[in-house]
């Protein structure tokens, strides 16, 4: 009897539950905009925008891949940054970390363990849920030596990899082999990969071969504000709004605001300016000072913004490599001057940095005396001297170092070394970078006033890199590096004598000089120091040593120049990459169609 009575009741309950489950699943599938109770969304402060419309930007050429594991070029990284998300993110405006996929994180007292808790209800752009297994999978792939992911180097500390384990479905623990001063900034830019799509190709050893631009939209997913819609070879990449994105505005509207984001591939800077001028694109970034002034003169429905100095530092350096027997007698003679610290200090004193800012950047830049660009708000050493240009001081330093002056073949004053030979050398510069070519020419003129005969040699960029980093057959070079992050970690290979970008003498087995050994020590110590104050003190000292020894003669840092249509809301260019699209989810068109869904 019991059973007979219980039967229909059980069936009714089951059917009701099934119907409810079906309804809720149906709702979730039909309307991802509706927040489930469990979802823990990230509320972004700022102007509330209008939903709908299409944002159009120009990229200087095509991105090459959508796969974060192999992306090597800036454009691919920019697009991937929009389609993917990281656990902890560096806010490009504040330059500080903020929670992203991680709702929170806790660092153990010894600084070796990071416990990260993921947000509830996170979903990839194809609707598949994200859990701790995706995070584990991601770091397993990044750390796999056979994948050759560039991210791997970030996850190796003192030669040992970071380990990751899962506590529960939403909690993962990262164990560091050594304390790491960078802290949670480490996780910025490390996209969490969709295990449900990549695990099979990874097991088959093909994970690097997928994610080409020709990938079908339903075969690729991420956690960023936009997802793949269409790629037209050579012309454009169209992304569409990710309906499962995990951020909202203060009114609770799910971001991003725009329905579509289009990247047009425009092969050169001038064509990019023309497209912006003719209203075909909504914003423009990475403008040269010349183009910025042209656009500023003819404002037609758009606003131009100078976001201030960025993190790019341009510098002159001499060839201080020890090539042993391979060194030509001529280079050996020149390296005697280059290795003399007073010679480098004299060159630095003679360079007119203000003129570089004025003539190369049309005043939209800042003179530099150290590696930390002025756009970096926290790490610059404010005590560092900024001596004005002084030819007298330069002459005194040269005289002190045994140089003298005689008459050149045309009767002009010529600087002679201790052996009575004229000081002549060449400066390499990239032929594709007009700004640096101008800087080299200005330096040539500055040094002429000291009696040095300098030739500027513009070289195609790859040939220049080959000369500087491989054959090492050069005298001096003008180059620039744009730091990826404000933290010193992003430039560690410039500082360390073993680093590949320690350009004046890269990849040394042992530090060639005492001051390089001291910098190595300071930088290594600051990397494991626990507090910002400790790190800053060590880093300040490293900056002082660099300024004293002048292996790199810092020149100037350009401002970040951008522009946008007046109809683009929340346009707030930052000095960190990506300058304009860092808040792409909040960008909105003030004139977007009214009937856009909320």
């Amino acid at each position: 009897m019991k059973n007979r009575r219980a039967g229909p009741h059980w069936r009714r309950t089951f059917l009701c539950s099934f119907a409810l489950l079906f309804l809720s699943l149906g709702q979730a599938a039909a309307s991802p905009q509706q927040k489930s109770i469990k979802e823990e969304l990230f509320v972004l402060p700022g102007e509330v925008g209008k939903r709908g419309g299409r944002l159009v930007f120009a990229l200087r050429g095509e991105p090459k891949t959508l796969n974060p594991l192999i992306a090597a070029d800036t454009r691919s990284r920019e697009v991937i940054g929009i389609m993917q998300a990281d656990l902890v993110h560096i806010n490009r405006a504040t330059q500080l970390t903020e929670p992203a996929l991680a709702k929170s994180w806790k660092i153990s007292p010894d600084g070796l363990q990071y416990t990260i808790v993921l947000r509830h209800g996170l979903k990839f752009s194809d609707g598949q849920p994200l859990d701790a297994d995706d995070v584990l999978f991601t770091f397993r792939v990044y750390l796999d030596e056979n994948v050759h992911a560039p991210q791997r180097d970030l996850l190796i500390i003192s030669g040992k990899p970071i380990t990751v384990r899962k506590l529960d479905a939403r909690t993962v623990v990262f164990r560091l082999p050594k304390t790491y001063g960078v802290g949670e900034r480490l996780f910025d830019g490390l996209a969490i990969l969709p295990r449900h799509l990549l695990e099979k190709p990874y097991q088959e050893g093909k994970v690097s071969q997928i994610g080409t631009l020709a990938t079908a939209a339903n075969q690729w997913a991420g956690l960023g504000p936009f997802r793949l819609k269409e790629y037209v070879a050579g012309q454009r990449l169209v992304l569409e709004r990710n309906p499962y994105y995990w951020k909202t505005d203060v009114n609770g509207n799910r971001l991003p605001y725009a329905d579509e984001l289009v990247f047009l591939f425009v092969p050169n800077a001038d064509a990019q300016v023309l497209k912006f001028q003719s209203g075909e694109t909504d914003a423009i970034a990475q403008l040269s000072a010349e183009n910025f002034s042209v656009l500023s003169r003819q404002l037609r429905g758009y606003t131009m913004v100078d976001a201030g100095p960025g993190l790019e530092y341009n510098f002159l350096f001499f060839n201080l490599n020890d090539l042993g027997e391979k060194t030509s007698p001529e280079l050996t003679r020149k390296q005697k001057w280059f290795r003399e610290v007073r010679f480098r200090q004299a060159v630095s004193a003679a360079v007119d940095r203000e003129a570089i800012v004025r003539l190369v950047y049309q005043g939209r830049g800042t003179p530099l005396w150290g590696l930390v660009a002025p756009g970096n708000r926290r790490w610059g050493n404010e005590e560092l001297a900024h001596p004005p240009r002084s030819l007298e001081r330069a002459r005194a330093l040269l005289k002190d170092a045994g140089f003298s002056w005689g008459n050149g073949p045309n009767g002009e004053s010529s600087l002679l070394d201790s052996e009575g030979k004229p000081v002549e050398f060449s400066i390499l510069t990239s032929s594709t970078n007009a700004d640096r070519a101008k800087m080299a020419t200005l330096i040539q003129d500055d040094l002429k006033q000291l009696g040095m005969r300098v030739q500027v040699v513009p070289l195609e960029f790859r040939s220049l890199l080959d000369r500087v980093t491989q054959t090492k057959e050069y005298d001096a070079c003008v180059m620039g590096i744009a730091s990826y992050d404000a933290d010193p970690n992003s430039d560690i290979n410039v500082w360390l004598s073993s680093g590949g970008t320690h350009l004046w003498n890269p990849s040394q087995e042992h530090p060639a000089t005492a001051w390089e050994a001291e910098i190595d020590r300071l930088i290594s110590e600051q990397m494991i120091a626990r507090t910002f104050a400790q790190r800053k003190k060590l880093y300040d000292r490293a900056q002082e040593i660099l300024a004293e020894n002048q292996p790199m003669i810092f020149l100037a840092s350009p401002d970040i120049l951008a522009g946008a249509k007046n109809s683009l809301g929340n346009f707030q260019p930052a000095v960190l990459e990506p300058y304009v699209l860092w808040n792409v989810e909040q960008l909105h068109l003030k004139n977007a169609p009214e009937n856009a869904p909320r």
């Binding site: 159009v56 095509e62 070029d73 497209k275 790859r462």
Partner: protein, 324 residues
């Protein structure tokens, strides 16, 4: 037929020679694709070495050449380091876009040059002929780059045409007629630049070739026989003057893939131009080598077609060939 096969054999030898030279020159150029990573302070030299090894950049040249040739024979045409995929699909899409542009421009240019050249030859030395000569001389001295930039500036100021790309963002949702119109609008500027840069040379050749024939005694006789002017010019004079023009036509075919590269870069046309420029600068070796090989194939085919046309048009060549 024997003539055709002999030319084809020569063409194959030429292509093989060009493939070796293109491979050598491109691979021996200083620097490689992964060099730019050296400037990324976050990437360790060991990672770059591993990537170089993965893409066989550390292997000897002959091994790499054989490996690439094998890939060409299998239709993949090597591997693009930048796109991380075989070169063939990347190149084919762009080559199609380039051909659309250049074939249209070539047809328009020949379509204008033939009647205009004949018209000018008929008035040889008179005011209209001299005016046309000045106009063509003026166009000849303007570099392609300046012409393309001038057209772009005009467009930005007037807003008559789009400033680059091949189709609009809404191309997919347009009707067939709308798509045609959209494509035509986007093609107008680059085609105009190509036609204006190629036209003067064609007009001058047609004019010179036809003017030379018009003075010939057989033309005087034909005129005496009362053959109508139009028939005289287009059926007799043009046919006799065809030899140099056929060679020029062969050259036009040869330039189909390589003649528009600069205009494509300036006007953001998604053809081979921007791809090759970027590949050269980034040392994406196999894209560059395949681009050169493709262009050579067109040059060789153009010459082959011109030879066949000459064989068909000129009985003297047939006789010479038969005598051999």
């Amino acid at each position: 037929m024997r003539f055709f096969f002999r030319r084809l054999r020569h063409a194959c030898f030429l292509l093989f020679g060009v493939s070796i030279l293109a491979f050598l020159f491109t691979t021996l150029a200083p620097g490689n694709y992964f060099d730019e990573m050296r400037l990324n302070p976050q990437i360790a030299p060991e990672t770059m070495a591993a990537l170089r090894a993965q893409y066989q950049l550390d292997r000897p040249l002959p091994v790499r050449y054989v490996s690439w040739m094998n890939s060409v024979l299998h239709g993949q045409m090597g591997f693009s380091f930048a796109y991380n995929s075989p070169v063939a699909p990347i190149l084919f899409v762009r080559a199609r876009n380039t051909l659309l542009l250049t074939i249209t421009a070539t047809l328009i240019a020949w379509g204008i040059a033939l009647p205009l050249g004949v018209w000018s030859a008929e008035r040889f030395g008179r005011l209209p002929d001299r005016l046309l000569s000045w106009a063509t001389a003026a166009l000849l001295v303007i570099p392609d780059l300046a012409l393309a930039l001038g057209l772009l500036v005009l467009t930005v100021r007037t807003g008559w045409f789009p400033t680059g790309s091949m189709t609009s963002l809404d191309f997919g949702s347009l009707s067939l007629g709308g798509k045609f119109r959209d494509l035509a609008l986007h093609m107008t500027l680059p085609v105009a630049a190509l036609v204006l840069s190629g036209l003067p040379l064609l007009i001058r050749h047609v004019r010179a070739a036809v003017a030379e024939v018009l003075d010939a005694p057989f033309m005087l006789a034909a005129r005496g026989h009362g053959i109508p002017r139009r028939t005289l010019l287009y059926r007799y004079a043009l046919r006799v003057a065809a030899n140099p023009l056929i060679s020029l036509f062969g050259f036009s075919i040869g330039a189909l893939l390589s003649g528009s590269l600069l205009v494509e870069v300036v006007m953001s046309w998604p053809g081979l131009g921007p791809l090759l420029l970027e590949s050269i600068l980034s040392r994406d070796l196999y894209v560059v080598i395949d681009g050169v090989l493709f262009s050579t194939m067109f040059l060789v085919s153009g010459n082959l077609i011109a030879d066949i046309l000459l064989y068909w048009a000129d009985p003297r060549i047939r006789t010479e060939s038969a005598a051999r």
